[in-house]
Structure formats: structure tokens, C-alpha cells
Amino acid sequence: MFSELFLEYYDYWFIIILMIVGMYGMIMKKNLVKKIIGLTIFQMGIILFYVASAVKWKATVPIYTPSVPNTEIANYINPLPHTLMLTAIVVGVATLGVAFALLIMIYNRYKTLHEPELLERMK
């Protein structure tokens, strides 16, 4: 019973762990760069979650080859989550870029990226 449950859901559970790690980094870490790392891990968890949901046993990548008939849905894995995640990855990259730009601004003004120190210097 347990092994079945594990086999069917284990990837979700690893993804959940990944997301929690990301969230931990975002909330608990004091260094702003580490917060961003946490953010990225969190986003990666979500991306993996989508991709994992697209899988079909015994199916192939969603690129049509005449030898594998596309009349049978089971032959190709679901292309939609992959597409969505391509977009989400780009959004993540953009967010990361903006976050770094902000970090550089902060660092130039306060010469630190450690949050308590930063708050101290902002007074």
C-alpha cells in the first residue's frame, strides 16, 4: 500500500520538498541573494511540477514522427505543460534579471546585502 502510494506520487513529494526548501530560503535567509536563490528554487519546483504532470508511460516526446501515429493520444506526452513552462521559465529569467538589477542598486547605495545590516543602515 505504502509502496504504491510512494511510487505513484513520489515525484510530487520531491517537488513539494523542493518548493518548501525554496520557500524556506526566501523567508528565513537574511541575505538578499540567498532569498533570490530560494525564489528560483521555488519557481523550479513549480516548473518541475508542471512537467511531471505531463508524463505518460510508454509515450514519446511531442514531436511528430510518421512511425508513431498521432491518432492515439497515448503515443505522445502532453505538450501543453511544456509549452506553459517555456513561458514560465522566461518569466522567471526576467524576474531574476530585475531582482539582480534591484540588488545592484541596493548594494551601490548601502554596500551590503545582509538584511538586518541593511535595515540598520537605512535608518
Binding site: K35, Q43, L84, A94, T95, A99, L103
Partner: protein
């Protein structure tokens, strides 16, 4: 052709402007402002006509690429979307028109990217309002959020950190939303809102869907700054450049509220309020806590913009309360308050901007009668907006509160009734504090000399007509909206019928 493509045209107009501004800037410097004004004027006209068309005819459903939903992505231009889009575009038109001096003053050499990003922000917000696809919504949420972070980050010295916090929290919100979308997609296989509304009733009690709803609502709740997820808002609004505050405060969070309307009333359906999850009760509870918290914090502030920011937290609470009460009257109150609050907050933030440009500060403790004498029209507008915020008839603010009061009584939520009434009093406290200073605070003796200098006021028209006219227009708008709210309410009634 225009009519059929209306839903696409409105966001794409702004996108085109954002793309053209850097290109045209290569040929002709300082053209960004005029392009921005022109495009937002065009968008206001188009969305005004669109609202009229949609109201008299039927909802326009527009499928991109010619693919029918759910194969492709569709935009749904119904009365609610048209209404919110019109509010966004009109407010942005007024704020952008006002922005010329403020941007010159605060961001002297960054006008081009500033206006381009403003256009992107508006593109994102309009996209959020119009889209009929939950994943596409995420993309546009990210566009508008990124633009929002940047527009905030170019403000005062502390603004980058405020923007960074906003970015972290906002990205968490967007990611939670995305995760919720993922759960919903796995459970239903579709991303189209109308399809989801058809499919969900049969599976809405499974744990996954419940969690998905929770995640999506809380993700959007962060974007909307519903208490207790408002933490990013006060700093961001305070340290942002004046134009940004005036632009984001009235419409940014309202769009979040709009998404909540869409999700809760149109997709998840009323079932979630009453039977499965106490979403409505939770939202209403947090909203009322936010109303009280925001009002009290606003009283404690010494800086006008910061006070207005906390007041925004409270006012968002009203909208959320209207959503949480989940009855038609609450819906009317919430939608009406989206409109009214957009006008009031835009007016107040523009006044704060004017003060910063003309006086160099917006510090309440320095307000005195001299200021009131020097800027009579500005402060007349301020008075109107303040009275409206307090909820005194016949200003617009009264009527949205009136419907919220009716809604609380209709669902016998006496506690929330008390909250609304109490918050009106708190609003009165912090606005009359300013009004008293402006109209009665005497000069201290050493300032009398300064008064002589001000006698020959070099600022004709209180700092220039370009600063004054938008403020006065918005104040007039508040009164007009108050008097003609019956037609707006009947329009809102048609949205839910």
C-alpha cells in the same frame, strides 16, 4: 473591424506604444511623453466606446490566432471587463497627462524607459482584465508586476529595497497562483475560464481543487494587498516616484481585486462561498481587519503619501469585504468602490505629487494655513476627495459605502457593519487632521517673514496648469460619479444578471 478586434486592440495599443517609444527615441528625443499621452487617450476613447458597445450589444469573445477556445486563448470583453478597463485607462490618461513635470523633476534623464515601462504596466493591467485564460492571466500579471517593481524602484533613496521586497512577495504571490493553475490544469485539463466554470462544479470538493482555489486566491490576494498580505504596499507607495504612486495606487491593486471577482464569482462559483471552503468568510474577516488596521496606521503617519498608502490598505479592505460578503449588493459595492477609490486615490496622490514638486515635501507636520492659502484649488480638490474618502454624501465615496452597508445588513453581518461605520470615523480623524492644519494652523512667528516672500507667488496657477487641471478634473469626477451613480449601479446590476 475595430469592434470585432476591440479586446485585442486595447492592450496591444499600449504594447505598440512601449515598443515604439525606444525606437522613436532614437530619431527624436523627448517624444516619449507625447506618445504615452496619445496612446492612453486613444485607449480611453476605444475602451469608452467598447463599454457602450458591450453594454448595448453582447459580450465580445475574441480568439487569438483564430483558434476557438479552449484550443486557443480567448479574450472576453464583457461588461465587467469593459468597465474596469475603462476605469484603468481613464485614470492612467489623467495621471500620465499630469506626469510631465513630475517625471522631469524626479527622473530627469530616464523619461524614455519610464514611459515605456508605464505603457507596459498598462498593457499588462489591461491584459489581465480582458483575458479569458488563467495561464495567460499569469503572464500579464508578471508583465504588470515587473513594470510595477521597476516604476517603484526609481523613486527615493530607499525605494530599491521597497521594490525588492515587493518583488519577493509579488513573485511568491504569482508563483502560488501559477501552482494553483497547475493543480487546476491537472484536474480539469483546460485553462479556459468559461470551460473551467463548466467543469469545476462536478469536482470542486476534491482536495486538490480546494488547495488550488486557496493558492490562487491567496496568490492574487498578495497582489491585491489584502490584509495581512499588505506588507509590501506602504513602503512601495511611499518611496515610489509621485507619478508611480498615483498610477499604481488607484489601479494596480484594483486589478487584483478584479481578478478576485473573476475567480470567485465567475469561475469557482458561489458554491465556494457557501458550502465548501469558507473563502467568503475568510476574505471578509481579513478585509475588516485590514480596514481597521489600515485606518489606524494611517492616523499614525506623519507623511502624506505614507498615510495615503495605509489608507489604501483600508480601502482595499472595503472592496475585499464586498467580495467576501458574496451577495449582489456586496458585489455592487465592491465594483463601485473600485471606480470611486480609483478616482479618490488618484486625486489624493496627485495632490501629494503636486506638493512634492512645488514645496519639496509632503510632510503633514509642516502643513499650515500658508499652504492652504497658496494652493486654494488644490486643497479644494483635496477637501472633496477627503470628504469622499470619509464617505459623506453626495460624494462618490458615500455610495459605495452605502451599498456595502446594505450588503452587510442583507447578510446580517452586524460585525462588518460596525467595522464599516467605525472606519468612516477613523477616516474622518486622519483627513480632518490635515484639513484643520491647512485651513487653520497659524504661522509660527518666525515664519511670517517667509510669507512676505510668498506674497509675490512665482508659481502661477499653483505650480502650473498641467499639475492643477488633472487634480481638479478628478475632484469634479468624484462629485459627478456621486450624482450619477445610479446609472453606474444599474450597469453593475446588468453585469451580474
Amino acid at each position: 473591424m475595430i469592434i470585432r478586434n476591440l479586446p485585442a486592440i486595447i492592450p496591444l495599443l499600449f504594447l505598440a506604444a512601449a515598443l515604439l517609444i525606444p525606437l522613436i527615441n532614437l530619431l527624436k528625443k523627448n517624444s516619449a511623453f507625447s506618445i504615452a499621452v496619445f496612446v492612453s487617450l486613444l485607449a480611453s476613447v476605444v475602451s469608452g466606446y467598447g463599454l457602450y458597445y458591450v453594454d448595448t450589444n453582447e459580450t465580445i469573445r475574441y480568439s487569438f490566432g483564430g483558434w476557438q477556445p479552449p484550443i486557443g486563448i480567448e479574450y472576453v470583453y464583457d461588461r465587467l471587463a469593459a468597465f474596469v478597463a475603462l476605469v484603468i485607462n481613464v485614470i492612467s490618461l489623467i495621471v500620465i497627462t499630469h506626469s510631465l513635470k513630475a517625471v522631469k523633476e524626479e527622473l530627469s534623464d530616464r523619461e524614455m524607459p519610464y514611459y515605456a515601462i508605464t505603457m507596459l504596466l498598462l498593457c499588462g493591467l489591461n491584459g489581465i482584465v480582458l483575458t479569458g485564460d488563467i495561464f495567460n492571466l499569469y503572464v500579464f500579471v508578471e508583465i504588470s508586476s515587473l513594470a510595477g517593481y521597476a516604476l517603484i524602484a526609481v523613486g527615493e533613496e530607499r525605494s530599491p529595497f521597497a521594490a525588492f521586497r515587493y518583488l519577493l512577495i509579488g513573485t511568491i504571490g504569482a508563483s502560488l497562483y501559477l501552482l494553483g493553475v497547475g493543480f487546476l490544469f491537472i484536474m480539469t485539463g483546460t485553462l479556459n475560464m468559461i470551460n473551467l466554470a463548466q467543469i469545476l462544479p462536478s469536482i470542486n470538493e476534491t482536495p486538490t481543487v480546494i488547495v488550488a482555489v486557496t493558492l490562487m486566491v491567496s496568490g492574487i490576494g498578495i497582489k491585491t494587498a489584502i490584509f495581512p498580505m499588505h506588507g509590501w504596499l506602504p513602503d512601495s507607495y511611499t518611496y515610489a516616484p509621485s507619478t508611480t504612486s498615483a498610477l499604481i495606487a488607484p489601479i494596480g491593486t484594483k486589478v487584483g481585486a478584479y481578478v478576485l471577482f473573476r475567480l470567485l464569482f465567475f469561475i469557482f462559483g458561489i458554491d465556494y462561498f457557501s458550502r465548501i471552503l469558507p473563502v467568503g468568510d475568510l476574505i471578509a474577516f481579513f478585509a475588516s481587519a485590514g480596514i481597521i488596521f489600515g485606518s489606524i496606521m494611517a492616523i499614525a503617519q506623519k507623511e502624506l503619501k505614507r498615510m495615503l498608502a495605509y489608507s489604501s490598505v483600508a480601502q482595499i479592505g472595503y472592496i475585499a469585504l464586498g467580495i467576501g460578503l458574496a451577495n449582489p449588493l456586496g458585489f455592487i459595492g465592491a465594483v463601485l468602490h473600485v471606480l470611486n477609490h480609483a478616482f479618490m486615490k488618484a486625486c489624493l496622490f496627485l495632490i501629494a505629487a503636486n506638493l512634492r514638486i512645488n514645496e519639496g515635501h509632503s510632510d503633514i507636520s509642516k502643513f499650515d494655513i500658508k499652504l492652504g492659502k497658496k494652493y486654494p484649488w488644490t486643497f479644494a480638490a483635496f477637501t472633496i476627495a477627503a470628504l469622499s474618502m470619509i464617505g459623506l454624501p453626495p460624494m462618490a465615496g458615500f455610495f459605495s459605502k452605502w451599498y456595502l452597508v446594505l450588503a452587510t445588513i442583507d447578510s446580517k453581518a452586524w460585525f462588518y457593519l460596525g467595522v464599516i461605520l467605525l472606519s468612516s470615523l477613523l477616516n474622518a480623524v486622519y483627513f480632518f487632521r490635515i484639513l484643520e492644519r491647512i485651513y487653520m494652523k497659524k504661522y509660527s512667528s518666525d515664519e511670517i517673514k517667509e510669507e512676505v516672500v510668498f506674497a509675490g507667488n512665482p508659481n502661477k496657477y499653483e505650480g502650473g496648469l498641467s499639475l492643477l487641471i488633472p487634480v481638479v478634473l478628478l475632484a469634479a469626477g468624484i462629485i459627478v460619479l456621486g450624482l450619477f451613480n445610479a446609472s453606474i449601479v444599474s450597469l453593475i446590476n446588468r453585469m451580474i444578471s
